[in-house]
């Protein structure tokens, strides 16, 4: 059964330097609060996994948490580039960033394989693309038809972290709206942390709701507003203005560093 602890406790108990850590949430329920806590606790040399590294990974990369990034699309959605991500890849600042790049379909198949305890996922992909020689993909032959398909290695993070709307006292979790790959990353990871908007006495299944039983989760922590500037369906909307503002904040190394100091490092986990 999931232990219900503070986010600071969950991160310090589960997240270690050098681990493979996936913070997921596909354009919704992005676990910003948890990412900020990882930054505050000064984790280093992480292999960060995420289909769509956006602002939260730009911050973690810019603050030097990451040694490697496994991803399929890295940008500021609807705005443009991730300047800290680009600075790391283009100029090794603050540290060199090794990348393992996939397509969305490849990452999704790799998470499904991980959740299913299979060593690889199979899909029709990568053919004719220049990505194949730069990433971990192999060819696999159908034993019945002889067709050649692509195989991607399963993703099995040491720690998977997602944000959801609700949990109950037993740590059972419900999320709804765009559900992304949250279930897959939780089940693919060896240990998992779920931050939630609130803990409710009784989880009532919503239309479109996905429930993850508490016994399949490591720790649950309350982080109201923990997805901001992303959004939590039925709780608050996406802060589109912040995504636009981030373009300016993140463009310059000093502006970025000052902003992170003031808005993340100097702020407690409960804020």
């Amino acid at each position: 059964m999931a232990e219900i602890v503070t986010l600071a406790e969950a991160v310090s108990e589960f997240v270690r330097d050098g681990q493979t850590v996936a913070l997921e949430g596909f354009t919704h329920l992005i676990p910003h609060a948890a990412g900020h806590e990882v930054i505050r606790q000064g984790r280093r040399d992480l292999t960060l996994v995420r289909m769509t590294p956006d602002v939260i990974y730009d911050q973690m990369i810019g603050m030097g948490c990451a040694r490697k990034l496994i991803f399929s699309w890295g940008g500021n959605p609807g705005v443009g580039s991730l300047h800290r991500f680009r600075d790391a890849v283009e100029h090794d600042w603050p540290a060199p960033l090794e990348i393992e790049e996939h397509s969305h379909a490849g990452m999704a198949a790799a998470y499904v394989a991980g959740a299913s305890n299979l060593p690889f996922g199979t899909l029709r992909a990568y053919g004719g693309s220049d990505l194949a020689p730069h990433t971990r993909v192999a060819s696999i032959t159908c034993p019945f038809t002889g067709e050649e398909l692509a195989a991607v290695p399963a993703i099995r993070p040491d720690v998977g972290i997602v944000h959801a709307q609700q949990a109950d006292e037993q740590g059972n979790v419900q999320l709804w709206g765009i559900i992304g790959v949250q279930k897959e990353v939780l089940l693919a990871s060896h240990r998992s942390i779920v931050t939630v908007e609130e803990i409710v006495p009784e989880l009532e299944l919503r239309p479109g709701g996905v429930i993850i039983p508490g016994w399949a989760i490591g720790a649950v922590s309350v982080a109201a507003g923990g997805a901001h500037p992303s959004y939590a369906h039925s709780y608050y909307e996406r802060d589109n203005a912040f995504y636009v503002a981030w373009d300016e904040i993140s463009r310059d190394r000093d502006t970025f560093t000052e902003w992170m100091q003031r808005h993340v490092l100097d702020v407690g986990a409960t804020a």
Binding site: W73, P77, H104, A109, G127, E237
Partner: protein, 254 residues
């Protein structure tokens, strides 16, 4: 055509209108954010009320009242016929062969409609690191057709891609077949100057339609390879008053 023969509009508006006009009612569209999303939503609101909009965030049959800034806006989930997981949207719906038209953009496009959205310069030592492929490589491979929207400049319409992220017509005739791609690949590129389509024989993108006030020389000058121009070049009608009104209502909706 509207009663008013002369009407100011931007080249982006012409591009979006031209893209929307190609969407047949009932078409199942896999759309990304930006101009493609605008074009698909314009079609939905004008001549194609039954076209199905699918976003890679897992929203199927969405009818947003305003244009989303991200492919995962709550508006998309709230107005969707169904919301499924990301593995399902790519596995059961795109790879499953259920997408009629996929819309893509790119930083670079070559004469065969191959696309680069990964990197400018060398992959390991990039001049500019772009966001990457995301859903594009499989959309390009598996949608029955792919429409590309891109502003036409020599920097983006290039002789040689720095990186091939997504396959259009590959290396030309027979290329997609050899790769085992079910879809037809890029069948049209809509720019701010006109419309390019693959030549039936050579598969090379050829200027087949030109927008009002643009001449083919301008399109050739805006292309990094020697652009072929169709003998029967079609002059595209300017946006109608209704099209412009619907488009501007869409863009100003909050």
């Amino acid at each position: 055509m509207s009663s008013n023969g002369h009407r100011p509009y931007t080249s982006d508006e012409m591009m979006v209108v031209a893209a929307a006009r190609r969407i047949v009612n009932g078409t199942v569209c896999f759309v990304g954010i930006g101009l493609p999303s605008t074009a698909a939503n314009l079609a939905l609101r004008t001549h194609a009320p039954e076209c199905v909009l699918i976003y890679e965030s897992g929203t199927i049959g969405t009818k947003p009242s305003r244009l989303p800034l991200s492919i995962g806006d709550g508006e998309l989930a709230e107005t969707a016929r169904a919301v499924v997981s990301v593995p399902e949207i790519f596995g059961y719906w795109l790879q499953g062969g259920r997408i009629d038209v996929g819309f893509l953009g790119a930083a670079q496009i070559d004469r065969f409609g191959n696309l680069n959205s990964t990197v400018i310069g060398d992959y390991d030592h990039p001049k500019v690191r772009l966001p990457g492929g995301g859903g594009a490589p499989e959309i390009a491979g598996q949608a029955k057709e792919v429409y590309v929207l891109a502003r036409q400049t020599p920097r983006s319409f290039v002789e040689q891609l720095d990186f091939r992220t997504s396959v259009g017509q590959g290396d030309g005739p027979g290329s997609r077949e050899r790769l085992g791609f079910p879809g037809a690949g890029v069948t049209v590129v809509i720019t701010d100057l006109g419309v390019l389509e693959p030549d039936p024989e050579t598969r090379e993108l050829t200027l087949t339609q030109i927008f009002p006030g643009v001449d083919s020389a301008a399109a050739v000058a805006a292309t990094g390879w020697p652009l072929q121009v169709a003998r029967d070049l079609v002059a595209v009608d300017q946006p109608t008053a209704d099209e412009l009104a619907a488009l501007r209502a869409l863009e100003t909706a909050k």
